[in-house]
Symmetry: D2
Amino acid sequence: MFDKFKEECGLMALWNVPEAANLAYLGLYAQQHRGQEGAGVVSLDRESGKFCVHRGLGLVNEVFANYDFSQLVGRAAIGHVRYTTAGGNQLTNVQPFFSEVSTGNVAIAHNGNLVNAEALKKNLIAEGSIFHTTSDTEVILHLIAQGKNKTARRELIFNAIKEIKGAYSLVILFDDSLFLIRDPNGFRPLSIAKLGEGYVAASETCAFDLIGADFLRDVEVGEVVEIDRDGKMTSHFPFGKTKQSPCIFEYVYFARPDSQVYGKNVYGRRKAMGRKLAQEHPVEADVVIAVPDSGVPAAMGYAEESKIPFELGLIRNHYIGRTFIEPQQAIRDFGVKIKLNSNRDCLEGKKVIVVDDSIVRGTTSRKLVKMLRDAGAKEVHLRISAPPTTDPCYYGIDTPEKSQLIASHNDIEQIRQYLDVDSLGYLSQAGLYESVEAEEGTFCDACFSGNYPIKPA
Amino acid sequence: MFDKFKEECGLMALWNVPEAANLAYLGLYAQQHRGQEGAGVVSLDRESGKFCVHRGLGLVNEVFANYDFSQLVGRAAIGHVRYTTAGGNQLTNVQPFFSEVSTGNVAIAHNGNLVNAEALKKNLIAEGSIFHTTSDTEVILHLIAQGKNKTARRELIFNAIKEIKGAYSLVILFDDSLFLIRDPNGFRPLSIAKLGEGYVAASETCAFDLIGADFLRDVEVGEVVEIDRDGKMTSHFPFGKTKQSPCIFEYVYFARPDSQVYGKNVYGRRKAMGRKLAQEHPVEADVVIAVPDSGVPAAMGYAEESKIPFELGLIRNHYIGRTFIEPQQAIRDFGVKIKLNSNRDCLEGKKVIVVDDSIVRGTTSRKLVKMLRDAGAKEVHLRISAPPTTDPCYYGIDTPEKSQLIASHNDIEQIRQYLDVDSLGYLSQAGLYESVEAEEGTFCDACFSGNYPIKPA
Amino acid sequence: MFDKFKEECGLMALWNVPEAANLAYLGLYAQQHRGQEGAGVVSLDRESGKFCVHRGLGLVNEVFANYDFSQLVGRAAIGHVRYTTAGGNQLTNVQPFFSEVSTGNVAIAHNGNLVNAEALKKNLIAEGSIFHTTSDTEVILHLIAQGKNKTARRELIFNAIKEIKGAYSLVILFDDSLFLIRDPNGFRPLSIAKLGEGYVAASETCAFDLIGADFLRDVEVGEVVEIDRDGKMTSHFPFGKTKQSPCIFEYVYFARPDSQVYGKNVYGRRKAMGRKLAQEHPVEADVVIAVPDSGVPAAMGYAEESKIPFELGLIRNHYIGRTFIEPQQAIRDFGVKIKLNSNRDCLEGKKVIVVDDSIVRGTTSRKLVKMLRDAGAKEVHLRISAPPTTDPCYYGIDTPEKSQLIASHNDIEQIRQYLDVDSLGYLSQAGLYESVEAEEGTFCDACFSGNYPIKPA
Amino acid sequence: MFDKFKEECGLMALWNVPEAANLAYLGLYAQQHRGQEGAGVVSLDRESGKFCVHRGLGLVNEVFANYDFSQLVGRAAIGHVRYTTAGGNQLTNVQPFFSEVSTGNVAIAHNGNLVNAEALKKNLIAEGSIFHTTSDTEVILHLIAQGKNKTARRELIFNAIKEIKGAYSLVILFDDSLFLIRDPNGFRPLSIAKLGEGYVAASETCAFDLIGADFLRDVEVGEVVEIDRDGKMTSHFPFGKTKQSPCIFEYVYFARPDSQVYGKNVYGRRKAMGRKLAQEHPVEADVVIAVPDSGVPAAMGYAEESKIPFELGLIRNHYIGRTFIEPQQAIRDFGVKIKLNSNRDCLEGKKVIVVDDSIVRGTTSRKLVKMLRDAGAKEVHLRISAPPTTDPCYYGIDTPEKSQLIASHNDIEQIRQYLDVDSLGYLSQAGLYESVEAEEGTFCDACFSGNYPIKPA
């Protein structure tokens, strides 16, 4: 509904933890913002070697409504939430995938996107493989399945990931071990925690908080973490030392503010972006407001730095359903109003600074500006806590085509005119890196810069 | 899920407006926070005299999912959202009620609670009436039905409301007129707006914003507003001048912050409560946080007044479903964690002031405090932006019995100990009245004072 | 789907029987053919005086799917299955109705149709009554409710049924007694059985067989049977001696063949109709077939009498759903084929006698004849085991308007031509009475004769 | 619910027929008795080369309720109904299966059971294949997928079916051709019809009747029928001449009486079995009745031969749902009574011959006998229109284990005593072959004889 980039997936994995499947479900729930169209859990009962699967379309809560977790036996599990992109929203595409392969049973869940999946798939089909999903993740499963009987699991995985190119954080469950993997660029996050005698992994640390696990460390860029039958954790770097480029947009928008991503608190980084934005684009005004909820921390940072009071100028409706029946005589700005209402008393006759984290197509922003003016705002100054998003992502984020990104073919002044704001300021690339306390070029910033660490297909 | 008082109903009414039913549905959606367990719309096609009804259990969006509004014909409609209390959550109790009576067809929707419903019902049954619901609202319908054929609708209504006692904001739709009513105490709100050539009424003005109607005025305390077939609005005061006592808790918690209630912006009043609270109960601290979302405006007011920075110390999960499957080895403070997570970076090693609007049983607050301490808060100072809630409500709010209200049988120090906070401060009664810019005693404050404007049954 | 008259309701009642509600449900299931669009059970726990209700739209099995019968407490219950006619298929119209009236709680279920319901309803509304359903049965409830507090239940009922005119078999449950009633004409059946120490009543005796109750006797025409708190059964005849006219069509089509109706086995009567039909309308042929399933007993009787072999020339599909998606290039006789297929080997090159129980509009019969000819039948002779249906029913059977009844405006030869059969023979009125072993005029045969025992409204 | 063997599948295929998918659905509906737990249709739009799939759990009617057939584009389609046996009732096992393989897209549906599926599957997995279902049919798909790019489709199929052993009637849809296959034993039926310019195939000819297709011939035993892009039909016999053994039980129970199976009318064969049974096991009696519906034709044959009248002594309830809530004080013979009721008037004081087609475990038969005795039958003589079922089937029929078949470890007298009948007679093996007009040994009769044409795994 909002005009935003969309994270495509969230992962969970547990090893040697009681009620693993139930905790996987809760960990997925905490990461629901990373994918709302499908969810699943595969558990492993190590004594019997039995894997159990439950997957479905919809929110975690819908998929597991009234579910009896005693059906997902075992002290090991992996889980996945999914936002559908290519391939349509079909049940067969919901992860984790599970299959019997030459070397035993295996379950896999994937956050990211492979850039060479189509080519690999074509080869595999030519050699007699049958694909049952339209997901690039199934390619990885087939690559693992090509291995021979006696090969160590670790080797199967090394061989498979040497074939694939692109973004992948993976959790892979065998009947005697669990693997946690980040690709050599480390595009997507993956963190490890301790829970009792066992281990937990998740895309975001907010999952650990809910289930009471203690954060240990991130899976490192290019690392393959193996947890074996005895619970011993070993670390492998099959690609050796690589040039990392984790996604900077996790800080800007995707991650929950209470998560620690790449070792740092997201909320803190967003406030810093807001403060920096106030330094780069100051303006005289009466009030700072946010586009809730993602714009709130940056707006608070802007207000703090600028000494202009922060107010709740836009109120979010908490009962948003999936579809609304609009009257034929359309209500002005209906799509925005159904989610947000202006709080007239904070706006009427005021010079308003409104802070948001990004502008994708610009359509929603334009309606919001109109709504603020209708509520009596005398001036509207839009501030964006990131650089202009000029290029699409090929590493696991759902973005429109380049031509639809307003900043891909308009300069700031043109965007300002289109949005009908009195002024418009984006945080600079340098400002963004400063806000996340990193040197320029140490993240993937392709959506702002067009510099793609791996060439898309 | 939260330990709060609950508003029981929200109303909508439209007269001489195209697509009235569709707008009623949207107005109910905007007021969803006033009742989440049932919703309905009755429309009137004045040309044919036909009334159409659609009602169901669940959220507005669920009740009207894929609904074809062309089935709800006409330029007049009333609607209702409901939170179930007595009588169980049955479809038959979902309003608006519609019936054929001696003087024509009539539909009715009610926000409030009658204190003499049982006695009236007993009499009506003794005289041969049959009740089909367990709702007190049906009594009003029967009282109207007792009237004779030739009686003017206005008289039917005057006669009916002179029998009933308690809290009632009513919208009543006849085939030739619409009535908007507030009881002589004016317990519950009801406002009027203009839309094109017609009129709209709603419990809260946020409904007007969504459908683009222009706020006109409140229905006055004890007023019967009649809108006749020609769209002419006339005003009646069948009880003459009365001593008003509208519900002050609408300002504290029930209403949406972007609504104007009793003529004033709710958000502004809540910030004022926070500022006053800071004056009455100052404490040295590093950070002010809110219990989201209802505590946010007061927390911002407290921060503003105290000059202590406001931070997002508790993060709300936006995907809360209705039930969760908890593991058997229960997670500590599960019920709170599923909705809120502590944001450790804002809390660790800090003296924290946490602002909430009310404490009912105290159970949730206690868990929240524990969660803050677990996140490393050095001190926790709880501030409540209203006086202690010591007494139940009998005027349309769902409250626990007196014995379950923690403040009914514990003094402040006892509550402080139970909640395990370093200090606890409630806004005073005087402070609350000052915050809403009114003289003491001009509102119903029975839940704080035990002073009931009308004796409960 | 079939072109038939439709029975509108089936009743169950139990008094002083363990698990009464569960048995009521099974008794309704056995009588499912009497109404497929709604079902309900009201139970009474006599110790607490509590009535419990469960009703829903659909088949008995759907309404009670996964239902927990421990919610329907008590050793007394009444139940109802319903075929919707007037008033639309709404949940509020599903019986039994239950209400609190001046003299206590009462539940009622009704098989039949009142001819003066509209007039009575108008009066009741003028006096202040509120109707919640569009069912004529609610009128009876209101008439009972008019009675005063001290009146004996028996008097309440006598007073009510003296006001109503038309067809009514009723089961009425008070907190201390159960009433079983047939109107003074006895239009619709109602039978009594013994089960353990208690009593059971049902529209058809097949319900007794399923639950293991022993048939005792029919409720007599014009009888009010009262079973009091001590389980004592008394009999009342408030109308004195009346001229009876039970529905003869129960024998022809409505009742299950294994039921005893008005004291006689339905299957036996239907075979007798077939034998008589063979005497009245003999024809040289190779084979006798039936339109399954209702035509089977008469076809067997015809075959027996005529010595022509009976074969399964039409095979019924047992998995008929409610709707079918027909291709755009319509299949010939689709509507019939979906239910019945011709069995070519019994038909090809044969002279075929096909026996059915009735022709209503004639549309289905015509398609069936075509199907038989397509399967190679050399001659098709249609025999109907009842007289031509010329007039609609006003006593609880769903029939089309007179103008739509093919026999209302066509003579036999015209019908024969329309149906394209080689010969057509209907059982005579005298033959029908002989088959049911009764004197002419002792049943209601209005649908064949137009002689209405009570003038319709 | 009944104690019967169960057919596992039904097939449909259409080539060059308008609205192919809609007709496939209707053809499956006509064959619903061959599988009630899942259904699916895959269509092919030859112009675009696009395959479309719709599958689901439940009856055909449920799976396609409100389905929009315009989504299943094209003039070619295959369909499948399924009765679940091994592997559980999961959506992924519902056929037709569809996949992209090295040589293009392919869809497949299978009636039968492979005896070497597990061994083949193991090899395929060892070579890197991934299985997504627990169905033996997926093995065939993988064998086809092993073929190389340039191989003709016909060769792919020959290579695949030379690997598999067991029972298989197959319909296989490529983007340019349709294949219809029966295994070298011809265990399961498959017939071809003409519809307009195109072809239709179905497991049973009753499917042709519904959609108006004209029966052409059976697919012969061991034949591979290929219909190419130009609609030309060619015939191949990759196994040369083989010893056929089609399933004789299709005549006894599985097929619909109105179908032509292996060139003969099923109803006629069943009547012949009844006549032969009367010759082999005559007994003096008053009445012949059937266990409906499958026992009816044989009972009619028995009556015809014995000159004892055939009556409807057991009446079937037509509204059987899937589950029933039984009272705790169980009703005697509940499980039988819910489906069948005795018709006392035909039974009381009579010597009764009851005809059924088979006895599997004997539990239901025993209850039926008791029900007949309770209804007053003086003597009960049970006649079975087939030999004793002593051995399980491994060729696509769901049968209990050998130990559960009552005739596997009891002689006739022991069974007679267990069932408590006055006499018991089974049709002899010779009598059965005579009834189907075939020489002994020309069918698979393993369930009667233990002579398995192919050794089970």
